[in-house]
């Protein structure tokens, strides 16, 4: 027999003490005091451990109490009275403050005056003139080198007629002329095949803008009448700016993103 089992052996043989239950009850009642004394007096790591354990238990108890107190009938979520009372016809509407509207209009006016636009590609790799133009040698002895052929994609417009070939300085090959662009709307994320109305600005230089050369980063004007946009004044918008996002001479098509 194991040496510590004598208490159990006695209980088996003679039954429990007559005041066993009473003593158990009293010991349990004293447990609370003992636990509290220990928690207060324990020092060091042991004390920390006990405190952490107690805190965990407290949190759990609080959660169960809150869960029980939740009533079965659902109440409305928002019961507080807020500031800024509005009549019913304004409640579902977005209240832009007057100050914000005014500052927006002023900023818009300033931007238009400066000629700066908020474009998706603010900086593009500059294209050198050697890359842009190919020198064409002409003349009986092929010594004259004043003609240039544009090696990038260009837009010429529907009513374009070449200058007399003898006096033409810049040649825009028909194979590299495009009239349509694949324009993506940045918010709707859908792409439309829209006609180009004109080239607004080529970042590489004003000469390229006037020639109608379309490279990456060029701002072009596209015909958006099929999108069905309407201005606040009620007029139909039929032209919007878009910025080219690819290198059209490599891909064979012009991809652009609409500037809204």
């Amino acid at each position: 027999m194991a040496q510590g089992d004598y208490i159990q052996l006695h209980e088996k043989r003679y039954g429990k003490r007559l005041d066993h239950d009473e003593r158990q009850r009293k010991r349990k009642a004293r447990e609370v005091k003992k636990r509290s004394r220990v928690a207060q007096q324990a020092l060091g790591l042991k004390g920390k451990r006990i405190a952490k354990q107690n805190y965990r238990e407290k949190v759990q108890m609080k959660k169960t109490i809150a869960m029980h107190e939740e009533s079965s009938t659902r109440r409305k979520i928002d019961d507080n009275v807020h500031d800024g009372a509005m009549p019913a016809y304004l409640l579902d509407r977005d209240p832009t403050t007057r100050a914000k509207v005014l500052s927006n209009t002023i900023k818009q006016k300033r931007k238009e005056k400066a000629g700066k636009w908020d474009v998706p590609l603010p900086k593009v790799r500059p294209v050198a003139e050697e890359e842009m133009f190919k020198v064409i040698r002409t003349g009986k002895r092929k010594t004259k080198q004043w003609k240039r052929m544009v090696t990038k994609v260009s837009f010429v417009g529907p009513s374009f007629t070449r200058k007399p070939p003898k006096y033409e300085r810049f040649i825009r090959p028909t194979g590299l002329r495009f009239s349509k662009a694949h324009v993506t709307h940045p918010e709707l994320k859908c792409t439309f095949n829209l006609d180009i109305i004109g080239v607004k600005k080529n970042p590489n230089g004003q000469m390229y803008t006037s020639l109608g050369v379309v490279t990456k980063g060029t701002v072009i004007e596209v015909n958006v009448s099929e999108l069905g946009l309407v201005t606040p004044a009620g007029k139909v918008v039929w032209g919007k700016y878009a910025q080219v996002t690819n290198n059209p001479e490599n891909d064979g098509c012009i991809n652009a993103v609409l500037l809204v």
Binding site: D79, A88, L90, D92, P232
Partner: protein, 477 residues
């Protein structure tokens, strides 16, 4: 006719005229009238042809433009051919004339938050206002001071409505509950009427000619249903569900149907005994913001009119209201106009068909409030594009635009004689417009902030306006 014969001997030129009423029916046969005939003589002719006992005032319109000069000058101006029959439309005008308000007689403070709605009682003797500070206040019009403060709501009071017999006031709040008040004592009648889960957008009482004393009213809420409540039972009797989005406006028509307009772009017509859907009016492309009935003013004022008569028993009131309603309506069916966020309005005759009669375009921003004139001849619409437009109330043709506001126009109100129109806007001014000249009559600045709600008393004496600056302003002549 004696008038005709006497005049024809003096002037040589005559012109053939046909007098028609606003619906287009001719009054008698075409007459040869001398060209120096003007509106006063035409008025006598019409009075005689209609066999009126008392001389009623009329206004005359040739192709939607008012005739103010003699026929001679009109013909010379417009170069109208004398050979064709000239159609002159006569419109009865109100016998009384309301003077335009031009001064603020009192600025009454009291509310501690923005005033969201103001309303005069149907007899014009009481004034109530609901505000964002969760109280409804009743104001004394004789001394222009506060009378009662009615507390009880838990959140902003968004809408108040007087019963057409003037005995009850109901207010709806942002927490979806409705409270009944007794205007004589300022005390709440019974407990709050709950049932709606979101805020109340509109309330409309049952017309008094259908039931007197007024017992039932319908309330519309953001949760998408409209509920019919009974004030004596103090509970919701019928719930009109069907809209998928918020119901923005509700009107109880004179023929007993309820019209609800909603953010799901449809208008539904309901019958009131069982709450069944009769018709659905589709057509708008965006939220329906506001509804207006051609008989709305008569339904709102019930049996009271400009004579200021009081009634002793509900039966008397019911009869008087019924007589007024019948006279207002005539033989034509009730017309309904809906204003929407898609910048247009539709004119419907909901009793006849579910297709619109006319589409009223022209506004450049959403239409916030549409209102028929008390005589049903005109329709005014207030829009966020800073203009108020005037339309013909019967055909829906455009007549004039009133420009002058510099901010979105929120609400409009008519004077009881239909000659003046009042508009309140976000730019903190109120403007009174003259319908005859199509011009601005009075400019009423004075509010410190946006004007949310305006109302013209049915007796025409006072105008009340409330807004974001928390004061109630009373305007008088």
């Amino acid at each position: 006719m004696a008038v005709e014969e006497g005049a024809s001997t003096s002037s040589g030129n005559t012109v053939m005229c046909l007098l028609t009423n606003p619906e287009g029916e001719p009054l008698g046969a075409p007459l040869y009238l001398p060209q120096n005939v003007g509106p006063p003589q035409l008025q006598e002719i019409v009075n005689k042809l209609l066999n009126n006992d008392e001389k009623l005032p009329y206004a005359f319109y040739i192709s939607d433009q008012e005739l103010v000069v003699q026929l001679e000058s009109y013909l010379a101006q417009k170069k109208v051919s004398v050979e064709k029959v000239l159609r002159i439309v006569y419109q009865p005008q109100a016998v009384f004339r309301i003077r335009p308000v031009n001064r603020c007689s009192a600025t009454i403070a009291g509310h501690t938050e923005a005033v969201l709605s103001v309303s005069f009682s149907p007899d014009g003797k009481h004034l109530a206002s609901g505000s964002g500070d969760t109280t409804v206040r009743l104001w004394d019009l004789n001394t222009q001071t506060p009378l009662f403060t009615c507390t009880g709501h838990k959140n902003w009071v968004l809408f108040i409505a007087w019963s057409p017999d003037g005995k009850h006031l109901v207010s709806g709040s942002k927490s979806g509950e409705l409270l009944l008040w007794d205007p004589q004592t300022g005390k709440q009648l019974g407990g709050p009427l709950t049932g709606h889960k979101k805020w109340i957008t509109a309330i409309s009482w049952e017309p008094v000619h259908l039931q007197a004393p007024s017992r039932r009213f319908v309330s519309a809420s953001k949760d998408g249903d409209a509920r019919i409540w009974d004030t004596s039972l103090k509970k919701c009797v019928i719930s009109l569900t069907g809209h998928t989005l918020a119901v923005t406006c509700v009107k109880w028509g004179g023929d007993g149907h309820i019209y609800t307009g909603s953010q799901d772009c449809t208008i539904k017509v309901w019958e009131t005994t069982q709450g069944k859907l009769i018709r659905e009016l589709k057509g708008h492309g965006h939220w329906v913001n506001s509804l207006a009935l051609s008989t709305e003013y008569v339904l709102r004022t019930g049996a009271y009119d400009h004579t200021g008569k009081t009634f002793s028993s509900p039966e008397e009131m019911k009869e008087a209201a019924l007589a007024r309603y019948k006279k207002m309506r005539g033989n034509a069916p009730e017309r309904l106009v809906s204003g929407s966020d898609d910048f247009t309005m539709f004119l419907w005759e909901p009793a006849l068909s579910k297709h619109h009669k006319a589409r009223l375009t022209g506004h450049q921003q959403l239409v916030n409030h549409v209102y028929f004139s008390p005589d049903g001849q005109w329709l005014a619409s207030a829009s966020f594009d800073k203009s108020v437009k005037l339309w013909n109330g019967i055909t829906g043709t455009f007549i004039a635009t009133f420009r002058g506001h510099v901010g979105p126009v929120y609400q409009i109100s008519w004077s009881a004689d239909s000659r003046l129109l009042l508009s309140g806007s976000k730019d903190s001014t109120l403007k009174v417009w003259d319908i005859r000249t199509h011009k601005l009559k009075e400019d009423l600045p004075g509010h410190a902030d946006e004007v949310f709600s305006v109302d013209w008393s049915p007796d025409g004496e006072k105008v009340a306006s409330g807004g974001k600056d928390r004061v109630l302003k009373l305007w008088m002549n």
